[in-house]
């Protein structure tokens, strides 16, 4: 019998008011806007095998297979009413969906440690045929229009001495869509970190496929530090080999619209996938992260932790976390958590965890989702030590992000991202200095 942790929707709520008002007598807790359909985050309790984890009618038999195809027309033209598109502002993604073939490229800056080669695979290359297929029209268009792929190959058993860094900068000025397809192929027992660092202004649709060899340990970091106005769509796939470890860290800070779909499948037993993400949406930014972890192989694990903060009018985030444990995936262990911190009025976070369990023989499965305001007990604790409410709020938000950013494991990048988050939050007194070493 499988069980599932109860959903958690009770993040303490506190209006993000000015320092002077924060603890004024009579200021009660105020919930943010109801950001999640109740049926999606209700307490799930015990889940029978075969049951959908949410309320509502229990589906009979297995859930429908997810449709995939390399042919864009097989998906039809999305209207915005489809499940996969219903959260996306169609007007703003339209430039990508309508985008013509183009020769436009991002400007690449690469740092390739020893043991890594960067090559090009032509459209007919068998490597491309074997990749996980596109799951929506945009991804299929991208696969087609990218016309081949850039391939980062890490030799088997290579232990890279530093991360592979791909700086991918939009050059702006041009309305043409940049189509890209990247394949990261890591040989068995190799250990590698690959950083995709997106900056600048672009309309970019890029597929990323990571093939993790048996026993390999791979970290893929994707930073979306785009300039305002950028539009970025992408399907990320990971195929995790036997006993391999895959970690993905997605950091979305910039751009007008970012919509990333991350899928994980396991090629053999014993694989482990960790999907971390942070996003910070300011006024009018739309940041959408859709995850799909498909457990079809025994004894694999997945762990998902996404945290987001929103501030300003029209700030919008969407997190969809689908995890499926198929009948064959005995011994699975999975947990997913999404937390959203709504810093001001006028922002909206959608959070939809979704767990399908089709075998009772699992180690554990759970999900939690919480969207709310500041935890006023945390703020009280900090303020009771003399820290003003404004600084306390920044400390809490900074900590909220640091909790995920520290999983990147690349100090310089972590520092840069935290600095960029600090800038968004305003300068933090006393914390811009170096951390104090006590030891």
């Amino acid at each position: 019998m499988s069980t599932e942790n109860a959903s958690m929707t009770d993040l303490t709520t506190q209006p993000a008011t000015l320092a002077s008002e924060l603890f004024a007598p009579g200021v009660g807790a105020q919930a943010g806007p109801p950001t999640t359909p109740a049926s999606d985050t209700g307490t799930a309790g015990d889940v029978q095998p075969g049951a959908h984890s949410h309320g509502g009618p229990t589906p009979t038999g297995s859930p429908a297979e997810r449709f995939t195809s390399t042919d864009p027309d097989a998906f039809g033209v999305p209207t915005g009413r489809e499940e996969t598109w219903r959260f996306t502002p169609m007007k703003r993604i339209k430039p990508l969906l309508d985008g013509a073939d183009s020769d436009a490229r991002l400007s690449w800056t690469t740092d390739l440690p020893e043991g890594v080669e960067l090559t090009r695979a032509e459209a007919g290359d068998p490597l491309l045929k074997g990749l996980p297929e596109p799951v929506d029209r945009l991804a299929a268009l991208t696969r087609q229009r990218a016309d081949g792929a850039d391939v980062v190959r890490v030799a088997k058993e290579a232990q890279l001495d530093r991360p592979v860094n791909l700086g991918l900068a939009g050059t702006g000025g041009d309305d043409a869509v940049v189509w890209g397809q990247l394949v990261v192929e890591v040989g068995a027992f190799a250990k590698a970190t690959v950083v995709l660092d997106h900056t600048g202004l672009a309309r970019y649709s890029g597929g990323v496929s990571v093939l993790v060899g048996d026993g390999a340990q791979v970290t893929l970091v994707s930073v979306q530090d785009w300039a305002p106005g950028a539009v970025h769509g992408g399907q990320y796939d990971a195929v995790v080999g036997r006993d391999a470890t895959f970690k993905q860290v997605v950091v979305t800070l910039g751009g007008d619209l970012v919509r990333l779909v991350s899928n994980v499948q396991y090629a053999g037993p014993g694989g482990s996938a960790e999907l971390f993400g942070v996003y910070f949406s300011d006024e009018t930014q739309h940041q959408e992260h859709r995850l799909w972890v498909d457990h079809a192989v025994p004894n694999c694990s997945s762990n998902v932790l996404y945290k987001g903060a929103l501030q300003g009018e029209g700030a919008r985030t969407v997190w969809i976390g689908d995890v499926r444990i198929r009948p064959s995936a005995t011994g699975t262990e999975t947990y997913e958590l999404n937390r959203n911190l709504v810093l001001t009025d006028g922002a909206r976070a959608d959070s939809v965890p979704n767990l399908e369990i089709e075998t009772g023989e699992i180690v554990g499965a759970g999900h939690a989702s919480a969207t709310g305001r500041f935890d006023d007990e945390q703020l009280f604790y900090l303020c009771s030590r003399g820290i003003d409410a404004e600084t306390a709020r920044r400390l809490v938000v900074r900590g909220f992000f640091a909790d995920v950013v520290q999983h990147i494991g690349v100090d310089a990048l972590q520092d840069r991202l935290m600095a960029s988050i600090d800038t968004r939050l305003g300068a933090l007194p006393a914390l811009d200095e170096q951390p104090v070493e006590v030891a």
Binding site: F23, F380, Y381, C383, S384, F401, A430, E437
Partner: protein
Amino acid sequence: MSVLEIRDLHVSVGEGDDAKEILRGVDLTVRSGETHAIMGPNGSGKSTLAYSIAGHPKYTITGGTVTLDGEDVLEMSVDERARAGLFLAMQYPVEVPGVSVSNFLRTAATAIKGEAPKLRTWVKDVKTEMSGLEMDPAFAERNVNEGFSGGEKKRHEILQMRLLKPKIAILDETDSGLDVDALRIVSEGVNRSREEGDIGVLLITHYTRILRYIKPDFVHVFVNGKVVEEGGSELADKLENEGYASYVKTAEVAQA
């Protein structure tokens, strides 16, 4: 010399029809150099008193005054109270994910002192105080209260008191949940502050055990939202032997 004066303090929790009076006229004066023990049964309102002085938003002051050296404490924000020299060691310290102890301590010290402490002396001070409380240096890199044991939380509270050097420290059941070793270590930390300077201490406790380590000058018995008897440390011995039963009864009769 500092003095914290609490006069006829009335406090309630809850809103509107759910409002419930917890403190029913508390009078108390704590001066520099004095240690006052507040002893009372569970639910008598001891934490409510502590939180109300610190300014927790959950509690509504419905009457009375609290002043520190003549300044109206109730008018101050939570952080202003701390900067004015009040400190509350909490019964249940709060976890703050992603914020390291060292960053937290330094930010707090900067706020209290009004400027960032000199890095060199600060690092030395933190080290000294941590070793005084028998805390592992690695502790500083952990996130505030995250995954701390009960004893670690209380040591961390006293560490903050040592570093922030308040005028008046309120210790809310700092002794609860501590084993004998931890109780001794924490008490020695408090006693160092008492010996070094003229800190005023308001020691809230349910048990007399901690009073063997920290000798109070005054003992106040707290029942049903107010002080019902006051005396010297001999009063603690009486409570040790007889418990709160007689006081609770009297309070019930008085209320009826």
